[in-house]
Symmetry: C2
Subunit: 338 residues, 2 copies
DNA sequence: AAAATTTATGCAAACGTTACCATTTTTAAC
DNA sequence: GTTAAAAATGGTAACGTTTGCATAAATTTT
């Protein structure tokens, strides 16, 4: 079995003490130039690499941050992760990525696992299923730096970053209205998610501003967030079965948008009949058929901002008590439906 | 700052020695029943959790495995990772996921980073850009357990698992032939990848079996593997500009399939004119327009097999010298193009 | 009742590193 | 040429855990 060179090995070989070698390697001011040179060169020769585990034990720092997202296969999250990594690696942190598959149970397990593994901080976007987040509160109170992104929690006071879900939903709904649609349905995500409610508000406001009466039967919740296709198909079927059918659907969630497109395709509907707009960060929305207009979140950017906030939290000498919630613009892409 | 309870704390509180506490916690045979009970209960009370970092330092085992893939945003890889996790977590390992964005440079950095972080083993699917994998060979020779999946390397003797790329490509090509197509182009990935060549062979064999002459000008390599849309569009344009235009395209890569669909859409081509079949694990291939037939790899299953192989390697008492390469079937989904 | 055995516990070292304090050597000051 | 100051190096303990060995206490054997 492979055994890498240690400081002790170098000390022994060079007839120096481990402390001297350690200081020489870190370019300590108290070490003479020639000793430094000697040590550096020998270290190079035996390919010395400091042992991060020993360092972690000593310093109670791991230079790793935990990431908890519902699903890697969701483009929004993989884009956000790319953003996180871009900054984290640059700053010498590595990332431990975990997915919860939107299960509250797995979320708790993963978070505790990460905390136990002593990550220096946590970036988390909450699972759709989670209503009890006491475990997070405990960790937060114990001093674990946490930053929420996208799916945030009001109850825990820390840095947060989300999209401007209200405005995104407003604009999308408005675009449908401007196409002349008046009977606009809403397909929405699990109601305990922050983003679900913000997007709902945007939708309602747009209706109100254009004096379109709000019809509760046009709103359908898909609590499983599009992970369960059947649920979405049922919702769509329900809408199509209304005696006063909708002439447009606004979908307030990434995965549900895809499932809805699939449902409409399977139900063999006429694209002229119903206009669709939905949140989506899929990199192939523009190729889907039936085609849809879409609201895109700046996922990469959000990841970057989140990790920057976290690093601020981690590296601050003094406890931070003033927290910021950053809200990022969304982009609306209109597709001519034919 | 939060400071979790340690064995020492427990020992002090209970007026025992750390060794006794340690043994009691691990249910050592030499400890009296009452001491065990005492210790267990107190540990419970102060919420004692063993410190994995200290354990890693002591045991030279981290119970973590490194995963290196080209891109998380690629469905194939996120599915494979889900498969890996499903087994790994069950067996008490956690995973550190890294992506290379198909850059050889980042691949080397990530791998070395993981090795240095002392993962117990490595699961890797090679980047398109990598031609020099000396760094992997070195680590492998130093005794780091490595398992390759999907994009493997011949030169390094260890466990490997890939799809039956030859057969997958053969079947896809054959399906195009059976549709009556004779001028079948091939859009393919970086030539240094194992999968590229296997798929090329399958394509060639199908042509040969059906006595269709092979035309080199119908083969286009997209070395950037579909990460660069322009490259794919240029390739497609090139094909369409031939005086004897292809009547079908077989695409031997996931990302390139998507880019090709986009190119055909942008170039406003007639779906009747060119039939398309391509490798893809996207969960929305069936919704794309223009529509394509597709070969799907059993990504989840591949991930599971890969991690099982790795754990065998890691946990074996004696060095393993007999290695297996497992080949998994693919599935062909035919779409009626209209 | 003394010796032998079993049972339960404690001590010390180790994993690789660094930080504090102590010591030695060199240079500067008078 | 002694003393003071500065520069370079070494020793030790600590981070949290486990393990081999030593020891103490309890039990059994004769």
């Amino acid at each position: 079995m492979y055994k890498p060179a240690t400081i002790k090995d170098i000390a022994l070989a060079l007839k120096l003490s481990p402390s001297t070698v350690s200081r020489a390697l870190r370019d300590g001011y108290e070490i003479s130039a020639e000793t430094k040179k000697l040590v550096m060169e020998y270290a190079q020769k035996v390919n010395y690499k400091s042992n991060p585990i020993a360092l972690s034990l000593k310093n109670r720092r791991t230079y790793s941050i935990g990431i908890v997202v519902p699903k890697l296969a969701n483009s929004f999250f993989s884009q956000a992760i790319a953003g996180i990594e871009s900054i984290a690696y640059e700053k010498g942190y590595h990332t431990i990525i975990t997915q919860t598959h939107d299960s509250s149970e797995r979320e708790r397990t993963n978070v505790n696992h990460l905390a136990q593994r002593s990550v220096d901080g946590l970036l988390i976007s909450m699972s759709a299923g989670t209503s009890d987040y006491g475990f997070l509160k405990t960790l937060h109170n114990d001093g674990l730096p946490i930053v929420f992104f996208d799916r945030v929690i009001d109850d825990i006071d820390t840095f947060k970053v989300t999209s401007d879900n209200f405005k995104g939903a407003y604009n999308a709904t408005e675009s449908l209205i401007k196409k002349g649609r008046k009977k606009i349905a809403l397909l929405s995500n699990a109601p305990q998610l922050s983003i679900t409610n913000e997007r709902l508000s945007g939708y309602m406001k747009a209706l109100a501003d254009y004096h379109i009466p709000f019809r509760p039967e046009l709103i359908r919740n898909c609590s499983k967030g599009g992970n369960d296709y059947e649920e979405v198909e049922d919702a769509v079927k329900g809408l199509l079965a209304l005696h006063e059918k909708p002439d447009a659907i606004f979908i307030s969630s990434d995965r549900i948008s895809i499932s809805c497109v699939r449902a409409l395709k399977n139900l063999d509907f006429d694209p002229n009949e119903i206009a669709i707009a939905g949140f989506s960060n899929s990199d192939v929305v523009d190729l889907l058929h039936p085609s849809i207009s879409y609201v895109r979140q700046k996922a990469f950017e959000m990841g970057q901002i989140a990790v920057e906030m976290l690093l601020k939290l981690i590296e601050s000498k003094y406890p931070i008590t003033e927290f910021e919630t950053k809200i990022i613009d969304t982009e609306l892409f209109l597709i001519d439906q034919k």
